[in-house]
Each structure stands twice: as structure tokens, then as C-alpha cells.
Amino acid sequence: MSADSKPHNRLAGDLLVSLTTFVIFIIGWEAAVRGLNISKIVLPPPSAVAIALWESLRGGELHWHVAVTLYEVLAGFLVGSIGGLALGFVIALSPPMERIFYPYVVAFQTIPKVAIAPIIVIWFGYGVASKVVITATIAFFPLLANTIIGLRAAPQDQVEMMVSYTASRWQVFRMVRLLQALPYIFVGLDVAIVLSVIGAIVGEFVGAKAGLGYLILQKNFNFDMAGTFAILIILSAIGVGLHGLIGIAQRRIVFWMDMAGERVVGA
């Protein structure tokens, strides 16, 4: 076995490749903008974006907008995923409930949330509340769907093993189904957190007094392309960070999935 096949070495190698790609991409971008003389209203050079980013971070104004958007994202994510989780449990555990509720849930899901965002803003106002609601409606479905699938994912042989030792329905649920659902629930959380960032921005686009989406619109009106790009970078950093936090929680809680994967790779 060569040293390269060790996991952390491979990780370092991957990081090197993606960093190199990034640097080449940035240099190419800068060169293209300068060489082709592209107007910075159309496409700002990375150097201008970097300066705009630095200045926004230095000024106190940005922090407030980041806080507003982050609050909307987290509150909406929390409300939506708890709702999805709860309804998922109800539906998974009761087939009649599934027949009654699920068609409506699917119908609701097929409506683009962007389309109902203006309605929600009218109902809940231009403040934070409407963004939390929009975000919650988007975060809801991934949790619902994954909770239902997860609670039904327990392999038949595990259930039979439990039952053969006289386990009750509740014991099978508590000792097997719930834990088998966890990996699925984490997939739902991961999808939901990324969608939540989109939800908050969509809400702010429709009508807001603060937040990063509001700031993007402001910069756009002023043809401040570099400033817009700077905010996009901050937004994606927020998304990546939240996704990373979910990943850390997942690896700690659903440890057996990761380990099983590691075993296959190492084999």
C-alpha cells in the first residue's frame, strides 16, 4: 500500500488540485477582463471584487445585513424542518394520515415558493417574519420526504430479528426504525439548510428593509457589480459554513454510516 492511499494524504491532494484550479480560474478571469477590456459594469475583475469584499467587511453596515439574513435562514430552517420532521413522523406511522395529508403536501410542494413569496410578504409584512415563513416553506419538504422514507428504511431482517425476540411495535420503532431514519433525516437537513439560504434571499428580493438579498438589489441598482459579487461570496460562504456544520453533526451522530463507508474504501 503506497502512502498516497492514506485518507488524509488523498484529502491533501484533492485540496491542492482544487486550489490550483481556483488560482488558474482567477488569473484567467482577471486576464480576460483586462485583456478584452470588458466593462466592470458587466463583469468586474476579481481584484475589484476582492477590494469590494474587503471594504464591505471593514464597514460596519454589512454585519447588520449578514445578521438579519442569517437569522432569517436559521429561524426559517428551524421552523420548517421541525414541521417537516413532525408531519413526517405522523405520516410514516399512520397510513390513514398519509392518504389524507400527502396529496396536499405534494400539491403544495409543486407550487414554486418564489411564486407565493409576494403573497407571504403581503401577509407577513416587509420585515423578518415573512422571510422566515418563506424559508420555512422551502425547508419543510426535504425533511418531510426524508423522514418518511427514513422511518420506512429499516431492513426487514432487522425488524424480524427484533420481533423474534418478542419486541413490541414501539420497541422496534425506538430501537431500530428511529435510528435507521437518522441518516435520511440528515440528508434532509443538509438539503434544507442550503435551500434555506435561497429562501431567505428570495424573500428579501420580493420586499425587504434589510439583509443580504436587499443589499444585492441596492448594489445592482447602483451598477455596483463588484459589490454584488462580494455579497455573493459572503452568501456562498454562509451556505458552505452551514452545510459544514450539518456535516459535522452528521458524522458525530450517524457515525456508523461514515465508518462503514471508510471500511469499503480501505478494503
Partner: protein
């Protein structure tokens, strides 16, 4: 699991007790047992046909037969996790209606819960049946040591080899000290050497604890080596074609497998499959 509750014509059923003679001592009495599955195309599959078997307390019974002869179906019915279509199973004087606390089941696959350590997996029946944890944990540790897994108590299943996982499954079946052990090809996934040592271990467990054991296996020598009686089954429909008492002295050694007497028992069983053309092992 979709049990077909359609009953076979009663003419197929044999009066159970009259044939074998009343024996009040017997632990399990299977009479006229039928299992019919409904396939997706609507056809009925006769998985078990007219199964009659009396099992005595502390008896070791092996069931041999090729794939599809209904061995696993029979075992699942006895474990109370699959419903029968017709016939009766009397266990300790009562008609079987579900799983029993007096039962330990070893499955073909280890079926361990991946989020539980070896010890926690072995303790599953104790937790389900709300038995005394401290008392049975000591027993669980003894069993783990017995199958050679000392030091692995706090490892997770994915840290063990397949053979080690299967041994954890065997400990789990024994932890609550059941009087009746059902084993469905428990050693099928093990390498030949581990398998032989597990066979010896099982014989030792059986002779010390005097449990009643029903072992389903593909291996005729394994069946003969371990059993008091070997039940021979053939497929389509799954039925018992012969029950052969193995009159070899105990304790049996692995070396005994090369003797002519042992070979005669093996040959006598194999004959059933070669003549029927259903041997697939």
C-alpha cells in the same frame, strides 16, 4: 411478509397425534403444517407441505435440504415471525401464536444493529424482554469470551469480520438463556476452519446446557456431526422425506467425520438428493 391465509384441503392433513403416538414429553409438536405463499402472478407456491415433526426436550435436530425446500420458512414459523397457512404447532403445550421469550434465533446473516457495540448487540434480547441488566450483562460478557471475542465488547459491527459478526449473533441468541434455539444456516458465511471450530463449540454448548436446538444447514456432514436426528427436506413443495436418527456416540470429535460409520450416515442422506436430482450443494 404477506401470509396467505388460504387453507389447504383438510384431506391433505394427517391426523397428527395418532401417527407418532402420544408423547407428553415432547417440547414442540408440528402437525400437518402447511405454508402457501401467493406469488406476484397470483400463483400459489407451496413452500411447506404436510410437515409433521415432534421435537423432544434437549434434542438436537438438523434440517438439511437444498435451497427452496422451505427450511427457512419452517424456521420462521417456529420463531413466530411468519404465519402458517394450515396445521398446528404446539410449543410446550400451547398452540404457537407468536414469538416466545424461551426462543433464541440465529439468522443466516448476523443482522447486527450497526449503531450498537458488540456488547450492546448481544444485550438486545435482554433489553426487549426487560430482564435484569447487570445479571445478564455478566452472562453476555461470558458468552462473548466463549466465542473468542474478548476485548471486542466495545467494538462496532463494522470493525469486525463477517465471521466475528456471526459469532456476536450467536451470543445474542443465547444471552437470555432460551431453552429452544433456532439456527438458520448460522455458519454458512464462515470459512471452513472457523466453521469446524464453531461446530465443536455448538456441540459443547448443547451438551452443557441441554438446550433444544433446531439447526438448518446446507452441509450434510455438519448436520450429521451435530444432530440426534437429521430431518431431510426436498423442495417444490417443501416436505420432509426422511428423518434419520444419528446413532453415533457422544461427544463426537471432528476426526469422527472420516470414519466409515459417519460416511454411511452422510451417504444415506445424500441419496435422497441425488435420486431426486435436487442436490445443489
Amino acid at each position: 411478509m404477506n401470509p396467505v391465509t388460504q387453507f389447504a384441503p383438510t384431506s391433505l392433513r394427517r391426523p397428527a397425534v395418532a401417527d407418532s403416538g402420544v408423547n407428553s414429553k415432547c417440547l414442540v409438536r408440528i402437525s400437518g403444517l402447511e405454508k402457501i405463499y401467493q406469488a406476484k402472478d397470483g400463483k400459489h407456491i407451496h413452500a411447506l407441505q404436510d410437515i409433521n415433526l415432534d421435537i423432544q426436550p434437549a434434542e438436537f435436530i438438523s434440517i438439511v435440504g437444498p435451497s427452496g425446500c422451505g427450511k427457512t420458512t419452517l424456521l420462521k414459523i417456529l420463531a413466530g415471525i411468519l404465519q402458517r397457512s394450515a396445521g398446528d404447532v404446539i410449543m410446550q403445550g400451547r398452540s404457537l401464536s407468536g414469538p416466545s421469550r424461551e426462543l433464541g434465533v440465529v439468522f443466516q446473516a448476523p443482522v447486527l444493529l450497526p449503531w450498537r457495540t458488540v456488547l450492546q448487540n448481544v444485550m438486545v434480547p435482554v433489553e426487549i424482554q426487560r430482564r435484569d441488566r447487570t445479571e445478564f450483562e455478566a452472562r453476555a460478557r461470558q458468552l462473548i469470551a466463549m466465542v473468542g471475542l474478548s476485548g471486542f465488547e466495545n467494538k462496532y459491527p463494522f470493525e469486525l469480520s463477517g465471521g466475528m459478526q456471526q459469532r456476536v449473533g450467536i451470543c445474542r441468541a443465547l444471552v437470555h438463556d432460551p431453552s429452544f434455539l433456532l439456527m438458520d444456516e448460522p455458519f454458512g458465511a464462515l470459512d471452513a476452519m472457523t466453521r469446524e471450530s464453531m461446530n465443536e463449540e455448538l456441540q459443547r454448548i448443547w451438551s452443557q446446557s441441554r438446550k433444544t436446538i433446531l439447526l438448518v444447514t446446507h452441509s450434510i456432514p455438519e448436520a450429521v456431526y451435530l444432530a440426534d436426528r437429521v430431518v431431510v427436506m426436498t423442495p417444490r413443495p417443501g416436505r420432509i422425506v426422511d428423518i434419520i436418527p444419528v446413532e453415533l456416540p457422544r461427544p463426537r470429535s471432528l476426526g469422527m467425520q472420516t470414519t466409515a460409520e459417519f460416511g454411511r450416515f452422510v451417504a444415506g442422506i445424500r441419496r435422497h438428493f441425488t435420486s431426486a436430482g435436487t442436490l445443489d450443494t
